[in-house]
Symmetry: D2
Subunit: 133 residues, 4 copies
């Protein structure tokens, strides 16, 4: 499963443009990172809130996919705690809070190189029996 997901990510242009990499992936847990790049920053030089949200959605979504079902994002919430700047990477840890017959909920925590918490949020995914081929 992990290999399928990694290949799918590498083949996806949106993920590649962001530069998101998965560092760890197991049932109920995913860990990844995105580099600080000027082309992902807002006019103030901080990583754009949309790029940070995308990192979180991608990492948590891959965690949800580990259960083998077809996954779509139902909702996401993000709290921006500190600006993402002066860091080589932003790291995202996604942990499953619950998964049931239809829905999985993950918490996400984003940190900089120094381990400072930058952003927090929760994502909900819909899981259907239609399997990833």
């Amino acid at each position: 499963m992990e290999e399928i997901l990694r290949k799918r990510m590498e083949g996806n242009e949106y993920v590649r443009h962001l530069g998101v990499e998965l560092l760890e992936l197991r049932e109920g847990y995913a860990y990844g990172r995105m580099p600080y790049k000027k082309e992902l920053a807002n006019p103030y030089g901080f990583l754009h809130g949309g790029s940070l949200y995308s990192l979180a959605d991608i990492v948590a979504g891959n965690g949800a996919c580990m259960d083998g079902r077809y996954v779509t994002t139902v909702s996401g919430t993000m709290n921006y705690l500190e600006p993402a700047v002066n860091t080589e990477y932003v790291y995202c840890e996604a942990r499953k809070l619950r998964s049931g017959r239809n829905l999985a909920v993950f918490e996400v925590r984003l940190r900089d190189d120094a381990g400072t918490l930058l952003d927090s949020g929760e994502f909900t995914f819909f899981l259907t029996e239609h399997r990833v081929e």
Copy 2:
């Protein structure tokens, strides 16, 4: 103010990569769009949740900037209602629900070419007296 914001957007690589354009901008209201592009899609061919969220954040953020203060996103929530596919553009309407001394809250509604509601959400911005130069 509108001209400053438009120039700043055009100069921002993250906005340019997404292809977000502002169509209307006035105090408390912003309207923009993002084209459907393969490089913004997820592996299922739908626009990635992160790109849709970015569209919403950019459009609402510009609406918040119309008040002349320095704006940072405090939080965002998104509900994904229908997949964004088979449309030339996704349109985003952002309406101010409230703005006070420190915080502004906007609702966002994303629609496809046919006017179908695709996504909804709310964004909160922090406003500081530090002016946009």
Copy 3:
């Protein structure tokens, strides 16, 4: 359906303690109100955020129930825009943004007697075929 829901509400102690009444109820739309009462206020004399959220959940939930299925709240988000005080009632309007095979999403808007917008949010409900008897 409307009668079943009204009776169920009147029989529910939590709803009765809050004093929530439904004023209008139809497919995809619900409108209700809750009186300002000292026993629902926080130490500052404003209606407690939890009581306002409860009003929203109850009104939107009844809107979701109008489709005849068994309804449970999956998630809720609330933005508190203005303090709820100096008003006889708080009015809540809940409008369906989408409903599908499994999930329904409603926006909620709370206003005071003068029509000032106090709070906004979105609620997601899970719908199952198990019918309300």
Copy 4:
């Protein structure tokens, strides 16, 4: 500070009706509980989503108050993971994710007697220099 907050809570009718108690309270952390009571349940016999949200808001809000400033809830999000039923109490742990000059963000996790995670969410509070007398 802790004593002031406890007294204020005991004097508040909304808190008393819910039966919320604080079990632990220190800078950046609060832990409390609410009993399962029929008058807080929905028509299915589960604790009402609004009562659970209220518990979370009260516990996290007291955690935010520990910094000595005047606290108001800006926003709250809740994900309902499991029904709250067959438990004597629901326990709520609130942990500060960040606090700055104006805003504090807390995560909340609600559990039943057996330690099962029932609900998760995040609350944002506005802090002003107006001190609690």
